[in-house]
């Protein structure tokens, strides 16, 4: 069975799990929710459904944070997921929408070019000219659809759009209604409507939320993985999933190599070695978990297609360098320093040392 689509949505991949959870879920559900809040938490963090189906963990990390996020949505408050790049904000938001509304598709990708019409509603000008203003002449947006149907709508990278456009949301969030002054009417939100927004708090060139808007969100900050083990676990799992999904030719298990990737990322990110003994220069890139995952996947691809079917130092090296060196001057210096002071002397890393040096 081959699927032509590059990527399946969360609710498609985990349809079985969602079904099993829904069937065995006898706890009260908020209006228009597909699952009870407890079942949503189980879906995100993994566990067992009532009929014994194993629910895989979608997010690895602090349970309390996810509980706060779900409870926020259950109290019909909008949820803002904040965090460094690559801390699974969009990932969590997608799965929350899939579990609660059954669809993660209702989404607005915010950019500097997003205008109010893409948030509120637009006009079908042909109809507008022919028949004058009417409800039929309105062009609906994901937001209006979500309000009418009582589902979740996601705003990706909320802070990337202009502050004035962001503020369109204020009335929607506090009054749960979207006025259409042209028609002297309004879109009234049905129960179950809510907003999940994601934003990262590190990137430059973003428009800060106005405090009026910020007040209307409950904010959950997703942290970087706390330990090497946790992060390695996340990277391993995602690399396997993505690789399988891309139908990459199978290679021999590469757990050891993944540990090396994560170790290198963490050390450069935090500016010191894991044992805290050596201080290092930090790189300009954020070196997030998400980037570690993509290094893992590309290393897999190069090992499978160009190597001998085993992820080794050579297949890692060029991908690692590409991920670390974002600024050709500063980052090269940081990486070189790291090479000489850490990689060269570390047991079993000499192959990586040689390989990276060749690339640099």
């Amino acid at each position: 069975m081959s699927n032509e689509r590059l990527r399946l949505s969360a609710e498609e991949i985990y349809a079985d799990e969602l079904k099993a959870l829904s069937q065995g879920d006898d706890r009260p559900r908020p209006a228009n929710w597909r699952l009870s809040p407890q079942a949503v938490v189980t879906y995100i963090l993994g566990g067992k459904a009532a009929d014994g189906t194993t629910i895989s963990a979608k997010y690895v990390g602090n349970r309390r944070l996810i509980e706060t996020a779900v409870a926020t949505l259950a109290t019909d408050r909008a949820l803002l997921l904040l965090g460094l790049p690559g801390t699974a904000k969009s990932w969590v938001s997608e799965h929350l929408a899939a579990a609660i509304s059954g669809s993660s598709q209702r989404m607005i990708q915010c950019t500097a070019g997003t205008d109010e019409n893409q948030i509120r509603y637009g006009w079908n000008y042909a109809l507008l000219l022919a028949k004058g203003p009417s409800r039929e002449a309105l062009v609906k947006t994901p937001l209006t659809r979500a309000m009418e149907e009582g589902t979740l709508v996601r705003f990706e990278e909320l802070t990337r759009m202009g502050s004035d456009v962001q503020d369109t949301l204020i009335t929607v969030l506090s009054e749960k209604t979207l006025p259409i002054p042209e028609l002297d009417t309004a879109v009234e939100a049905r129960r179950g409507f809510n907003v999940i927004a994601t934003a990262n708090n590190r990137d430059k060139g973003v428009n800060d939320l106005s405090s009026a808007l910020k007040r209307r969100f409950n904010v959950v900050v997703l942290p970087s993985p706390a330990t090497l083990e946790e992060e390695t676990g996340i990277v391993l799992k995602r690399v396997r999933e993505i690789g399988t999904n891309l139908s990459l030719p199978p290679i021999r298990p590469a757990d050891q190599e993944i540990v090396r990737i994560v170790t290198l990322f963490r050390e450069l990110r935090e500016g010191k070695t894991l044992n805290g003994k050596i201080k290092l220069k930090t790189s300009t890139g954020s070196l997030s978990t998400a980037e570690a995952i993509s290094v893992g996947v590309s290393a897999w691809a190069s090992a499978a297609h160009f190597g001998d079917g085993e992820m080794d130092a050579v297949s890692l090296a060029s991908n690692l360098v590409g991920a670390v060196v974002k600024d050709p001057v500063q980052d090269t210096v940081a990486l070189q320093e790291y090479l000489e002071s850490v990689v060269r002397t570390r047991d079993g890393w000499s192959d990586l040392y040689t390989a990276i040096r060749e690339v640099l």
């Binding site: 509980e67 259950a74 904040l82 409950n218 904010v219």
Partner: protein, 757 residues
């Protein structure tokens, strides 16, 4: 032992435990209540019922002879022990403390130096039990235990009793297990056995004296040992030969922040602020709705955030309360716990920002209450005196840092200052003097106040010196003065005594200092002693002063200094010279303030002699010349001549030290007197290259004292080109400008201006 005996194992300072205890007591209606606590404090129990007693308070037990040995038994209003005391007093039932005497525990802890004076074990065993049951903190466990009553008050008492029975059973198991595995050290086990022998003796006595039920309130750990059959003879033998010291007991105010530590009883509480909130829930006659329970807490959080300058609107407080309830529902608990409240505040009120929460968490979770003691409670005389003073000065003890600005020209300000200074003298540092005599105003003092319960102990310690604060401070100062021969220390004591308004003590200290000054051989010490005394004399007018005596003393000491300074400055080593220069600056300034013409004149004379005297250490000579110049005692040509004599042809080390002291402490001299700058310049130009390089660090050091503007001006005047003799008219050839410009960057670095590197 007996059916009438009821053992109620509690969690120290646990509000949930308190609530259950009250229900159990109501159901048992005991004829006598026995509480884990030191029997020496029995006489103090009735005061717990007084109206003026506001927890947190503590029983202070201290050894009468040696006040360093002391222990506290703190009570918050939500402590089961406190509730037991109040319950009994409300119903006029006798209460007694049944732990081992504090006299024994203090004596033992003195014996076993190194071990803490903790009378109990480190963590509350009931918390371990809660942990084993899967609860994150001990209180959450109790919360569930209480909720199980299902709000039917009729059964509450029986339910509470069954909970206590279950606790006893579980703890008996736990203890048996721990004894088997030998987790406790031998001394620890020994101590427990001894304590329990005391407890059993008390219980036997109570059973003999009273007809009805006997309720014993103690840490859950001891339950099995109290229940176990034992022989009177054994207990007697166990308790007979223990060391014992005489102790005094009193009630003292306690603070929230100290409650959160461990002391006295083994278990400290994590969050008094939260426990108090919980207790308001349990203590209410009608259980409040979860909504109002969450709302009150979040409103408190909001108010605190606002006081820290965060926007925190009321609307967000409502949302925080809703989220807390939502989280509780999600986690399947009836009332939101501390974790739910915290996470809700974080997400709504702080926008996920931990920093904001960290700012208020001390006030929110720990609290800043300081207890109050009823005025009828017999206090030791010093504490009573302090209470009087506190009334008189309207200063209330508070547990958090508070800034106090005093204007000494007002009577109230002076009174407060006097009290704080006296307390400092008797080593009860309630206030820390942050700033005094700063700026021009000498009538201003800024104190940082913070009351910590240890101060009560310190107060008790000061008792040996006197029964009032004034007396104790005076006597203690005198005692220290008698023991000291150091001129500087004595001068400091005089100053301290004067600002503490203790003129008699000051006068006696002055006498001591006069005696000591005659024998003093070190001029530096004398100089250092004079400066603070002059300051008091000059600025201390806000207080009563033995002015004549003080003037006479300063005069005598100054004469001594003037007489000995020149010879005393011969061949000083580097460190001694540095100290001397420092002292001379202070002394010189002090003489200016003292304004005695004859004295100043003789000082100037000495300065001149020191510049002329070749044996005087170079730094001293440098400073002397500088002062002469500044005082306009010498004409410029004379200064220039002296300068060149001390620099040119001298060894680099001496010349450098001279130059450093001459230059440092103000840039005007070299900026305004072109001729002096020229002298420096000439000296530098004549140095051999290696000497020049060796002198660079020294030059840099000299110039760092100047501010950046002065350095820039200096640079500008140098950059104009090589120095010219005012008499010379012809400019140097332009050929020299080349190398000079090349050298400029280095010069900038030495002066520490401009340049990125």
């Amino acid at each position: 032992m007996d059916e009438r005996l009821h053992l109620l194992g509690i969690r120290h300072h646990g509000p949930g435990s308190s609530a259950l205890l009250r229900q159990a007591l109501d159901a048992l209606d005991p004829a006598c209540v026995l509480v884990e606590g030191p029997p020496e404090a029995d006489a103090l129990i009735p005061y717990a019922a007084e109206e003026g007693m506001v927890p947190p308070v503590a029983l202070l037990l201290y050894a009468s002879e040696d006040s360093t040995a002391a222990s506290f038994y703190p009570f918050a209003e939500f402590s089961p022990e406190w509730q037991a005391l109040r319950w009994a007093s409300d119903r006029h039932r006798p209460v007694r403390f049944i732990d081992w005497p504090a006299g024994v525990s203090l004596a033992l802890s003195k014996h076993e130096d190194g071990e803490k004076s903790d009378t109990a074990h480190s963590s509350d065993p009931l918390d371990l039990l809660a942990e084993a049951a899967g609860y994150e903190d001990g209180e959450a466990f109790w919360n569930t235990l209480i909720e199980q009553t299902g709000g039917q008050p009729a059964d509450a008492g029986q339910h509470a009793l069954s909970v206590f029975a279950a606790i006893e059973e579980a703890m008996t198991e736990a203890r048996a297990y721990q004894t088997e595995t030998g987790a406790m050290s031998e001394t620890e086990t020994m101590r427990h056995t001894q304590r329990e022998a005391f407890m059993r003796t008390h219980i036997r006595q109570a059973l003999k004296e009273h007809e009805g039920n006997i309720a014993v309130i103690c840490g859950a750990w001891h339950l099995s040992a109290l229940r176990a059959p034992s022989k009177i003879v054994d207990d007697k033998a166990m308790t007979k030969d223990l060391p014992r010291i005489k102790v005094e007991a009193t009630w003292v105010p306690w603070t929230d922040s100290r409650l959160s530590f461990r002391s006295g009883y083994g278990a400290g509480v994590l969050s008094p602020g939260w426990y108090r909130h919980l207790w308001s829930l349990y203590a209410a006659s009608e259980t409040p709705a979860p909504e109002s329970f969450a709302a009150v807490w979040q409103a408190k959080t909001t108010a605190l955030l606002r006081s820290e300058g965060y926007p925190a609107p009321t609307a967000s407080a409502i949302e925080a309360a809703r989220l807390a309830l939502g989280l509780a529902a999600l986690r399947g608990i009836q009332m939101p716990g501390l974790a739910e409240m915290r996470e809700a505040s974080l997400a709504t009120l702080c926008y996920g920002d931990e920093v904001a929460l960290a700012l208020i968490q001390r006030k929110l979770y720990i609290g800043e209450r300081v207890g109050e003691i009823d005025e009828h409670v017999p206090q030791m005389p010093l504490a009573r005196d302090l209470t009087l003073w506190q009334k008189k000065t309207r200063l209330k003890p508070e547990g958090l840092d508070r800034e106090l600005r005093l204007d000494l020209r007002t009577e109230a300000g002076l009174l407060k200052s006097t009290l704080l200074h006296r307390l400092t003298l008797i080593q009860v540092p309630w206030g820390r003097l942050v700033e005094a005599e700063s700026g021009r105003g000498t009538f201003r003092e800024v104190w940082m106040l913070r009351w910590v319960p240890e101060l009560s102990v310190a107060l008790a310690e000061a008792l040996i010196h006197g029964v009032t604060i004034e007396q104790s401070a005076g006597n203690w100062t005198l005692e220290r003065a008698q023991a000291s021969n150091s001129v500087t220390a004595l001068a400091e004591m005089i100053r301290a005594a004067l600002v503490a308004d203790l003129p008699d003590a000051a006068t006696q200290c002055i006498e001591r200092l006069q005696a000591a000054a005659i024998h003093a051989s070190d001029i530096t010490d004398l100089m250092n002693a004079i400066a603070p005394l002059v300051r008091v004399l000059r600025y201390g007018a806000a207080r009563k002063l033995p002015e004549e005596a003080l003037r006479a003393l300063i005069l005598a000491m100054s004469i001594e200094v003037n007489a000995g300074v020149r010879v005393g400055s011969h061949s000083l080593d580097r460190e001694a010279a540095a100290a001397r220069v420092q002292a001379m600056r202070g002394y010189d300034e002090a003489l200016g303030l003292f304004a005695d013409e004859a004295l100043s004149h003789s000082w100037r004379h000495q300065l001149a002699l020191m510049v002329e005297d070749d044996q005087v250490a170079a730094p001293v000579a440098g400073l002397s010349l500088r002062r002469l110049h500044e005082l306009r005692a010498w004409e410029l040509p004379t200064v220039a001549a002296a300068f060149s004599r001390h620099t040119s042809g001298q060894e680099l080390e001496n010349a450098g030290a001279f130059l450093e002291c001459f230059l440092s402490g103000g840039s005007e001299i070299i900026l305004q007197d072109h001729s002096l700058l020229q002298l420096v310049d000439t000296w530098l130009c004549e140095l051999r290259e290696e000497d020049f390089i060796a002198s660079l660090p020294l030059l840099r050091r000299s110039f760092t004292g100047f501010d950046s503007i002065a350095r820039r001006r200096l640079m500008e005047s140098i950059a104009k080109g090589p120095m010219q003799d005012s008499g010379m008219t012809a400019a140097h050839g332009t050929a020299e400008d080349g190398p000079f410009s090349e050298a400029l960057p280095l010069l900038y670095r030495i002066l520490g201006i401009g340049g990125q590197s």
